[in-house]
Symmetry: D2
Subunit: 226 residues, 4 copies
């Protein structure tokens, strides 16, 4: 009987350890779904790489970060490739960061996104992901031009589309990284000269080292704060 | 036994007649899926009403014509409401007539449709309908401006998007009413003054009585020529 | 000799009175040079008519107010018609109120005004008027949409082009009625619901009775405060 | 008296020779006034350099060819810099080649040129030059995209603005190099594959070696055919 009891104890411990190990080492796949900013984010110095490095430094091995950004993408493009590039990859978490081209392409190609369509296709993406029990974290578009006094041409639309995204995050209980707000606060402190670029962006849109760092910090916070 | 044979004959005849009757009177539901031109087409004097009248005059009762046009619609809008407004209605035939706003909204709102997205969403609509064994008939966008020398602002895009539609019709074995071509041929004969409007359109886009008649004739031909 | 002295006194008095009378009754021609908002401003209930009524009520007869607004005008249009509609009329004062279409036509026709060209043609107009010793009063474009949180599509550009105008007013020592600022302050107090229109505008751009009153008050202040 | 007669003859001959020499060697200053295509035209391999080389080869030294093209220029820009860059240089001949950006910037910046303004500012430039007795030669915009079936996005506008220029050339008795027509004819023969670029342009707009040669040939013909 004793040996049986011992066996039972050993087996129990083994089971518990296995369980704990699985808990400890269950890696979460995190996909970053977006445009050229995210495409660059997956390259050396980019915000996704910086997040990976920060996790390693902290000894956290729970996350597998995967970039899925394509230059020029609007909400329609995300919708069209969501099956192939996200859902079929079975992610646990998805960051959606889109909106700059939806606004920008109005002036630069005449093919921007109507606000009502932006909301409808964004909603469709969120719902597909929620169907798969993916944790979805929405991000507002940061900037097209870094001037702090709302004199950048697209400021009105960026503010409006960011509000659509904030409302969607609330409605569907998604996470939110409000990069529009975060960048604006940062610029108020760090852009006293009201410059168009050079602080968080190299060209009014794409991120400098400081820009990538700021995004990495805030996304990491959102990812691990759950 | 004789009475049984008689009964059998009667029953057979009855079955055959029922079958023939059903053949004869099986009404086909035809949905016209489009924008403001189709919305107007369902009103008195509109091309759908004219088609209905022509069918009645010919004593053809096989078709139930239903308008499903909404002003300002682009391919994205058709995609979003295709389930509610078309598929759920179980149509036998669908005419798709869209494209003017996809091109026009580039200049008038900055929210026109990129050609690659036009093709992709159009393809998705066609495939959903073919899944339901619907007979699909595509129509090219007619005109934005009636000048015959290709000096209307959107002529380049209208020609290009019409070509996309022609290619889709061929690829997916759909019917085609090439209104772009039909209108151009008509204008070459009937618009010697190279006028912007007043022949087939009242305002460069929406149809005059002659415009509605021309569309009705050509669509009826496509519908009944199968 | 006495009669001569008397004559001298009488003549002197007459001269002085004539001079004073001329001072008193020298009417100043004031031209309002602008777009559809100014065109409407010259109609019953419009801001120019309201200014005229306010002057009459105060018994001030010094000003002859003349509307010179044409719908859809941009800075280019003002430049092209400045000779015929303003300079040849020999005005004493000119209010220039333009900018809404320069910004708006970017999205609605693709033919808005580049900021550098806006500044250059505006400068050319100012200089032509200063050459004729006209008192020039510049006005910033008020609003395209009344939302107070800078989510109106054109807010970025309206802020930027207003800044160009403020800089021009300072550089060339012109008067300034900063309607962009005046409207924004008013909306912050009177538009708690963040509505798009209905407070100072009927349609996001053209003025309500309250809008015309606000503009009339501020322009009158600028005109008479010299 | 004889010696006087001889002197008279010699002097007469000298005068005549001087006159003939002046006729022969009076160099005409020719300015090419335009956009980036003309800016590139003044560089090695460009159409202006090719014209210079062709003249040298033929031993013609009558012309001094001067490039005055600036990238991105529209009719407004030519108007603003015509005094400094053309009139003050006292040219004998001016080629004006503009229009591509007036059309293109509609879609790429929202700041294209309205057709009525294009005509008015173009007219103002022509009249300033005619005032100075300059020989003015107008050129129509060639292409934005080389497809031959009028499916290039801007074909409608390019056709329309070219027609405005043709009408101006006729009205003001200017020369005309109808590059729109010339390129279209060339493409019909040399672009059987209906390609977007690679025949006369490297990028749908700027000229290949063949493009520069074609323009040089046609402009030289116009210049020397007077």
């Amino acid at each position: 009987m004793r040996s049986f009891a011992r066996l039972a104890v050993i087996l129990s411990l083994f089971t518990i350890m296995t369980f704990l190990t699985s808990l400890r080492f269950k890696t979460q796949k995190v996909i970053f779904f977006g445009d050229s900013i995210t495409q660059a984010g997956a390259k050396p110095g980019g915000y996704i790489v910086k997040m990976r490095e920060a996790l390693t430094q902290k000894g956290i091995t729970d996350y597998d970060l995967v970039g899925a950004g394509i230059g020029g993408n609007k909400i329609y493009d995300l919708y069209l490739r969501m099956e192939d590039d996200v859902l079929s990859q079975k992610p646990d978490v998805v960051f959606i960061w889109v909106g700059v081209n939806d606004v920008w392409h109005k002036a630069s190609f005449g093919t921007g996104t109507d606000p009502d369509k932006f909301e409808k296709f964004y909603t469709a993406i969120i719902n597909k992901m929620l169907d798969q029990h993916i944790r979805v974290i929405l991000c507002t578009p940061a900037v097209i031009g870094e001037r702090t006094d709302f004199t950048n041409q697209q400021d009105g639309d960026l503010n409006a589309y960011s509000q659509i995204i904030r409302n969607l995050a609330q409605k569907w209980h998604c996470g939110l990284v409000d990069l529009r707000e975060i960048f604006h606060s940062y610029e108020l402190k760090n852009n006293p000269g009201n410059k168009e670029s050079g602080i968080l962006t190299v060209d009014r849109v794409h991120l400098t080292e400081a820009g990538n760092q700021l995004v990495a910090d805030k996304m990491l916070e959102a990812l691990t704060s759950k």
